[in-house]
C-alpha cells in the first residue's frame, strides 16, 4: 500500500517538474528560432537602412523605426487609458461596492476579457472611428488613438481581474488598523490597502502592457497601418503602423528565406526584447518592494 503511494507520488512530482521545465524549454526554443530566422537581417540590411523612416518592403525599404514608434505610441496611449480605469475599477469592486454589486461586476469584467479582439476591431471600424473623426474633426478616424482606446478596453479586464485579487488578499487587519487610527475610507485605500497590494497591482499593469503591445487583430483593423514615424504629439491622432500588424499582414506573402522574411523575424526579436524589458523592469520594482517590506518586518 505504502509502496504504491510512493509510486504515484514520484510520478506526479516528475510530471509537475517536467511541465515546469518545459515552460523554460519552450521560451528558449522560441527565442532560438527567432534569433536563427531574424539575425541574418543584420548581415543583409545595413543598420543605417534598418533605422530609416521608410517601410515599403516590396521595394526593399526596410526602415523599422516607424513600426517601433507606432507600437510604442499605441501601447502608451492604451496604458494611459487602462491604468487609471483598471485600478479604479479594481478598487471599487474590492473595497467600495456592496457584496451583491461585486458578485455581478466581477464575472462581467471577466467576461469582457474573453471578448474576441476581432469583434472589438469591427466595433472600432463601424462605431468608434467614424465618431472620433466627427468629434475631433480629423481627416480620418483610423488613428493611433482609436487603437489605444480599443487596446485600453482589452487591457482593462486583465488589470481589473489581477489587481482585484491582489487587493482582496490584503489582510483585513490592515484596514481595521487604519480605521482604528481614524483614517477615512479614501485614506485607507490610498495609504494602506493599495501600497500593501503594490506588487500584485504592478503585475496586473505589466500583464496589461503585455496584452496591449502584443495585440494584433484589433490594431490592424483600426489604426490605418500607415508606416509614418510617430514622434510628434499630433501622431496620436494620425494613422500608425505597429510591429504586430506588420508581421501579421506581411508574413503570408513573403518567400521564406528572403530578406523581407528575415526582417519580419527581426521585428519579432525587437518585440520580444521590448516585452522582456517591461517584465524585467516590473519584476525589479516588485523585488525592491519586497526587500523593503522584509527589512521593516525583521
Amino acid at each position: 500500500m505504502e509502496k504504491s503511494l510512493n509510486w504515484r507520488e514520484t510520478i506526479i512530482t516528475r510530471l509537475i517538474r517536467v511541465s515546469g521545465y518545459s515552460a523554460i524549454l519552450f521560451v528558449a526554443a522560441i527565442f532560438f528560432f527567432l534569433l536563427k530566422e531574424g539575425l541574418p537581417t543584420l548581415a543583409e540590411v545595413k543598420l543605417r537602412d534598418l533605422l530609416a523612416v521608410r517601410w515599403y518592403p516590396i521595394e526593399n525599404y526596410f526602415g523599422i523605426l516607424p513600426l517601433i514608434t507606432g507600437s510604442l505610441i499605441i501601447t502608451v496611449g492604451a496604458m494611459l487609458i487602462a491604468f487609471p480605469l483598471g485600478i479604479a475599477t479594481a478598487v471599487f469592486i474590492s473595497e467600495i461596492a456592496p457584496r451583491w454589486v461585486r458578485e455581478i461586476l466581477k464575472p462581467l469584467v471577466e467576461l469582457l476579457a474573453g471578448l474576441p479582439s476581432v469583434v472589438l476591431g469591427f466595433l472600432g471600424i463601424l462605431v468608434l472611428s467614424p465618431n472620433l473623426r466627427l468629434i475631433l474633426d480629423l481627416p480620418t478616424g483610423l488613428t493611433a488613438l482609436t487603437g489605444s482606446i480599443l487596446l485600453g478596453g482589452i487591457a482593462v479586464p486583465t488589470i481589473v481581474s489581477i489587481a482585484e485579487d491582489a487587493l482582496d488578499s490584503v489582510p483585513r487587519s490592515y484596514r481595521e488598523g487604519a480605521w482604528a487610527l481614524g483614517a477615512t475610507q479614501w485614506q485607507t485605500i490610498w495609504r494602506v490597502t493599495l501600497p500593501a497590494a503594490k506588487s500584485g497591482v504592478l503585475t496586473a499593469v505589466m500583464l496589461g502592457i503585455g496584452r496591449a503591445i502584443g495585440e494584433t487583430m484589433t490594431v490592424m483593423m483600426v489604426t490605418g497601418n500607415a508606416p509614418v514615424l510617430a514622434i510628434k504629439i499630433s501622431s496620436i491622432v494620425s494613422p500608425v503602423r505597429t510591429m504586430t500588424a506588420t508581421i501579421a499582414a506581411e508574413m503570408g506573402e513573403v518567400a521564406s528565406g528572403s530578406v523581407h522574411y528575415h526582417v519580419l523575424f527581426f521585428i519579432g526579436i525587437v518585440l520580444f526584447l521590448i516585452s522582456l524589458a517591461v517584465n524585467i523592469a516590473a519584476s525589479s520594482v516588485v523585488f525592491r518592494a519586497k526587500k523593503r517590506a522584509e527589512r521593516i518586518l525583521s
Binding site: N6, W7, T10, I11, R14, V53, R54, Y56, P57, I58, E59, Y61, P66, I125, L126, S129, P130, R133, P139, T140, G141, L142, M220, M221, G224, N225, A226, P227, V228, S238, P239, R241, A249, E250, G252, E253, V254, A255, S258
Partner: protein, 291 residues
C-alpha cells in the same frame, strides 16, 4: 525506487504511438476527390461561386476555397498545400525560382478579367480624374481635394496591404503610369488596409477618402470615378463593356496557377471555368468574362 523511469518511458511511448497512428493516412479510399483552391482575395468570391456551382453538378468532388492574398496562394501552391492558386497578378520571377527548387513548374491560366475602380464618398463632388492626377494624389503631390476641383478637404489615401496583388497592379499601372523606370512610391501616410471591406467601409463614411478596389467588390453606396488616360481624352466609367473595348485604362487579367499542366479532375474543373456557363457567373459578380 529506480523503477519509475521505465514506467514513464512506456507512458510516453504509448502516447507517441497513439499520435503516430492518428496521423497515418487511412487505408480506405475516399469516395470524393478534393481540390484545394487558395489565393487572391479579389478572386475569392468568384472562386466560391464557381466551386458551389461545380459541386452541385459533380457531387463527388469537394472544392475548398480560401483567400489570403495572391502571394499566400502561390506560396501554398509551392508548398504543396494547394492544388490551385488564384492570383490577381502574374507570378513573380523569384516565386517561379522557389517553385522550381521544390520541383514544381507553375502553369498559368487566365480565368477572367477585372477592372480596378477608384472610389470616393458619395458626398464628394469630384467624379472625374486623369491617371496622372490619381498618381499625384497617391504619391502625395496633391494633398487637398480642392486641387482636383473638389471641396477644401484633406485627402485620405486608402490602399490594400502590400501583399495584395491589387496593390502591386495599382502601383505599376497607376502610380507609375505603366513606365518601367518610374520609381514613384505611395505617399508614406497612405493607409494600408488589410481587406477590401475595410476600404469600402472607410470610403462609405469618410468624405475625405479615396480608395481603389476590384469592380466586383464596389457597392452602390460609394462613387466610382470616371478615369481618362490624359486630360484631353474621354473620361470612362468602369464596366464590363469598357474593359473589353479597352477604353477603361485600369483593367487586368485574373489568373489561376496549377503545379504543372493540370490533369484529371483539376483539368476538368479548369475547362469548365472557361465554359460559357461559368463565365456567366463572372459577369454576375461584376467581373469581366474573358470572351
Amino acid at each position: 525506487m529506480n523503477q519509475p523511469r521505465p514506467f514513464i518511458f512506456y507512458c510516453l511511448l504509448s502516447v507517441f504511438c497513439f499520435l503516430f497512428s492518428a496521423c497515418s493516412p487511412s487505408s480506405e479510399p475516399s469516395p470524393t476527390s478534393y481540390i484545394e483552391n487558395k489565393g487572391s482575395d479579389t478572386i475569392v468570391n468568384l472562386a466560391l461561386a464557381w466551386a458551389e456551382k461545380y459541386q452541385i453538378e459533380h457531387p463527388d468532388i469537394r472544392i475548398s476555397v480560401t483567400g489570403g492574398g495572391s502571394g499566400t496562394g502561390i506560396t501554398a501552391l509551392i508548398g504543396g498545400s494547394a492544388d490551385l492558386a488564384s492570383a490577381s497578378r502574374k507570378i513573380k520571377q523569384e516565386e517561379i525560382a522557389e517553385a522550381q527548387k521544390n520541383g514544381i513548374e507553375p502553369v498559368e491560366h487566365v480565368i477572367a478579367r477585372d477592372a480596378i475602380a477608384v472610389i470616393v464618398n458619395l458626398e464628394n463632388p469630384v467624379s472625374e480624374l486623369t491617371l496622372q492626377q490619381i498618381s499625384d494624389i497617391y504619391s502625395g503631390k496633391i494633398q487637398n481635394w480642392s486641387e482636383v476641383g473638389g471641396e477644401d478637404r484633406p485627402i485620405v489615401r486608402l490602399s490594400r496591404e502590400t501583399n495584395s496583388g491589387t496593390h502591386i497592379y495599382f502601383l505599376e499601372t497607376v502610380l507609375r503610369l505603366g513606365e518601367k523606370e518610374n520609381k514613384t512610391l505611395f505617399s508614406m501616410d497612405t493607409l494600408l488596409l488589410p481587406s477590401s471591406e475595410g476600404i469600402v467601409a472607410e470610403v462609405r463614411q469618410n468624405p475625405n477618402a479615396i480608395g481603389y478596389d476590384g469592380l466586383g467588390y464596389v457597392p452602390h453606396d460609394v462613387k466610382k470615378i470616371a478615369i481618362a488616360t490624359s486630360a484631353h481624352e474621354a473620361y470612362v466609367l468602369p464596366s464590363a463593356a469598357t474593359v473589353n473595348d479597352k477604353s477603361y485604362p485600369i483593367a487586368r487579367d485574373l489568373y489561376m496557377y496549377t503545379a504543372g499542366e493540370p490533369t484529371g479532375i483539376l483539368k476538368d474543373y479548369l475547362d469548365w471555368i472557361l465554359s460559357p456557363e461559368a463565365q456567366e457567373i463572372v459577369l454576375q459578380l461584376g467581373f469581366v468574362p474573358i470572351k
